[in-house]
Symmetry: C2
Subunit: 211 residues, 2 copies
């Protein structure tokens, strides 16, 4: 069965997955690189990195994934819609290597990149987008790649089977919060917390089988 | 040196230290007892409980404490100000066993209880209240007992040396949030996270020595 998964979504103690304002110079606003520092120390990021618990979690990002869905603000900074040359943050060979669906109210024609990534632009509900991505994934799983808005919307719509958050010990105070609208999430998920020597805490939400 | 400490303040994943609405029947609102379930399993609460990490943290609540400061909403439900007979939630022998300062805009005369607890009612700034409690603590530490509003105010005023929060794997969605107004807390504190077999994560904030 093809699952819908979230991986490596980094949040502050107060639940923000990005700071503000987002811009070309500062894609995460005042959060800078602090939300992702834990990842830079892993083998997943750097062959000289550690193979500990942070790496074990990070590696799952691409295992068994056949397509990604991301939000418009993950794809580019404010204003990218008006730049016909914008091809994402990631250079010619983006780290997705699958069909990748960008949810946006201003879609454009698909962009074929090197390494197996093709960006498709979709104006669709979460359920519709998931059906399209699922089909493209060819039996593999679909990753909801972020940002917080998209993840929240897919979780709220009951579409996510597995969610991995990484709580980083900083208090951002402002940005986009993952928790808003997710009251009583524990009713649908088994939740596990594992703190790591790096200082972050991995939170996993595994959808409970319904009777 | 006498320190100012917060212990066992339980919060949801989204940072709420209480649900809503608070009432005589439901002091924690829709959170019920879920924020404190982790504590019921410890020796601190029950002699037959576990002596593991949850207990180690919980026990520090009273070690070396000479006075407590609490908020008006911890002392009683909405309306307690209008009930001259209200003596707190805790029966004749409250678990504080020290002078205990209730911050309120409607102070009343002190209430001497059994077991060493005397409730004093203070309309004062956090710094003023702390000076009074510190004096009463006779060289021991002062605990800021909650709720969230009081803890937040004392932390924001730079008065807290050590804060222990217990993050419980539920999403409350509403209530009083501990994090509001505490942006960049990590600048002043060393932060440690330890997940426990019970499912909670203990977060400790230790004030960094200033040069
Ligand atoms: N912390 C992490 O691990 C992590 C991971 C990924 C990204 N991020 C960061 O998170 C930030 C982006 O997150 P975000 O929450 O601001 O935004 P986002 O989730 O990336 O994108 C939200 C936007 O996508 C479009 N959209 C959403 N649903 C749609 C639908 N059903 N149909 C059509 N369009 C739809 C809308 O944009 P338009 O209408 O303008 O097109 C909406 O404003 C960036 O700073 C990024 O760097 C963080
Ligand atoms: N999660 C936990 O571990 C934990 C621990 C303790 C309590 N709680 C719960 O938290 C809730 C209470 O927290 P809360 O955040 O709502 O309120 P709180 O912090 O207990 O009390 C805030 C109130 O105290 C009074 N106050 C605050 N600062 C003052 C000052 N400088 N001078 C005079 N009065 C001042 C004001 O009330 P007035 O003006 O009305 O007097 C203010 O509304 C309760 O549900 C309680 O059961 C939870």
């Amino acid at each position: 069965m093809s699952l819908t998964r979230v991986h490596n979504l980094s949040i502050s103690l107060d639940g923000f997955a990005t700071g503000e304002p987002q811009s070309l110079e500062a894609p995460f606003g005042h959060a800078g690189e602090r939300l992702h520092g834990w990842m830079f120390g892993t083998r997943f990021w750097d062959a000289g990195g550690s193979a500990g618990v942070d790496d074990a979690f990070a590696q799952r990002h691409s295992q068994g994934i056949g397509a990604e869905i991301m939000g418009s603000h993950k794809f580019g900074p404010p204003g990218w819609h008006d730049d016909p040359e914008w091809r994402g943050w990631w250079g010619p060979n983006p780290p997705f290597h699958t069909p990748t669906y960008v949810l946006t109210h201003r879609p454009r024609p698909p962009l074929e990149m090197a390494g197996g990534t093709t960006f498709h632009f979709l104006d669709a509900t979460p359920a519709e987008a998931l059906a399209v991505a699922r089909e493209a994934a060819g039996g593999q799983d679909v990753r909801i790649g972020g940002g917080a808005t998209i993840v929240r919307d897919f979780v709220a719509a009951g579409l996510v089977d597995l969610m991995h958050l990484v709580q980083v010990p900083i208090v951002l105070g402002r940005g986009v919060r993952i928790w808003d609208g997710l009251e009583a999430l524990e009713d649908g998920y088994d939740i596990e917390a594992v703190s790591a020597p790096s200082g972050v805490t991995h939170l996993t939400f595994t959808r409970r089988a319904t009777a």
